[in-house]
Symmetry: C2
């Protein structure tokens, strides 16, 4: 069943009205008709099953059939922060990471980041990533689409450390010396409803100075097993492990 | 340090000789010189650190410095089988899945597979996937490059079920009805050194008839959490969870 994200919070109403891009998708792309059902996902993460009652020239009218029962969201709040990687890797991380349940993505210029994006380019990039996140959230039946934040300075990332219950840094050098327990320990300490920020370097990794600063502000460095993972693969590993730990075990 | 895969098993020798494609890579691409070191990974999964002693016009001579100590391979033997997906998704699964530790990849024509590859096309495709697996194994510092097998009939996949200690089938319908424990239970029953085959459908998923046949031959259907994962994302989820469970927890 098709899923549409609305920008307003849920409110019990006789009718819900859809216009604009979602209207276009329902009527022109999906060619839906009255009596067909869709999911409507509200900004407060509540979702309902709704039935189309009327289609006019510029609006679709729907009535609530029932609340969506299933909890589709990770029970912990995960933010994935990536040092701006090359090419379209960030798009890839956002698409797959949304499927895997990330709540938010932050891009930031790490010391080894090759790409330099100015204010205008960042805004454009952010819009594109938000669109990718929304599509992936719809496709994977999530209850909301993750936020995208692209920072202009690495310091801005450090400034948000204190708003998280835990901050981890995936660090290849930890993996190389055989550090294998900190990630699992951190997850075992994390409680349902808490928030975790996990930081990944760009292709060139982090400098010792960057790692030192992260640690000063409370970040915990950890390895992700004995194999060296690419910049874009490591976030997938972390999100899969978190889902496994909190949703399946 | 660069890593090269050799087709012969390890044997203690005074000198190791490298020719062909690896020679080209060492001498022309990396422009290495005598006294520089590389990893040599043998077909029996043993790897050594070796030092270049001589470079001639068509061969590099190396001597063993030490055995590689770190265990880079998953402690369980994982085979990922994918119903042939569209486009280059199988290449993507092989690249990322190799980083994440898969021992073998099997491609097979599922009922919903759109692509139809004949014998010749399969052989060409296999060569390409083997090259991708070898490159990803080098990059992620693995001790061997995974095997690639592309089957012409789905029955050939079922025929190998009995050679595995466990066979799992990732099934979206299981996830939808809230089945969340079988995957973790299967992993908890799996012992170090044992083998597991995990089967993933193409974009269209499996038909009820296919699932029934898999089950008749001992396959266990399982869900992978509450979100719907794409055909190429689900194998990453499974491999990450296995690494987490067996290497980090």
């Amino acid at each position: 069943m098709q899923r549409y994200f609305l920008t307003e919070p849920y409110e019990a109403k006789e009718h819900y009205v859809i216009t604009g891009e979602n209207y276009h998708h329902i009527v022109r792309v999906m060619r839906m008709e009255t009596e067909q059902q869709v999911f409507l996902a509200f900004s407060d993460r509540l979702a309902i099953i709704a039935e189309i009652t009327e289609i006019t020239e510029d609006a679709v009218y729907l009535k609530e059939v029932s609340k969506e029962q299933a909890e589709k969201e990770l029970p912990v709040n995960v933010t994935i922060a990536c040092g701006h990687p090359k090419g379209d890797k960030l798009e890839w991380v956002v698409q797959k990471g949304t499927e895997l349940g990330s709540h938010k993505f932050i891009g930031f210029p790490a010391k080894a980041s090759v790409v330099k994006w100015d204010h205008k380019k960042l805004a454009k990039k952010r819009d594109r990533l938000k669109k990718i996140a929304t599509e992936a959230a719809e496709q994977s039946h999530r209850q909301f689409a993750p936020d995208i934040v692209l920072l202009e300075k690495e310091q801005e990332l450090i400034d948000v450390f204190s708003s998280y219950d835990k901050v981890l840094i995936a660090y290849e050098e930890s993996a190389k010396v055989g550090e294998r327990s900190r990630f699992a320990t951190a997850l075992s300490e994390l409680k349902v409803g808490e928030s975790i920020l996990i930081i990944f370097g760009p292709e060139g990794g982090f400098s010792p100075a960057e790692i030192e600063t992260f640690q000063e502000y409370g970040g915990i460095i950890c390895g992700l097993g004995p194999r060296i993972l690419r910049a874009e693969t490591a976030p997938m590993y972390v999100l899969s492990a978190i889902s496994y730990q909190f949703e399946l075990v």
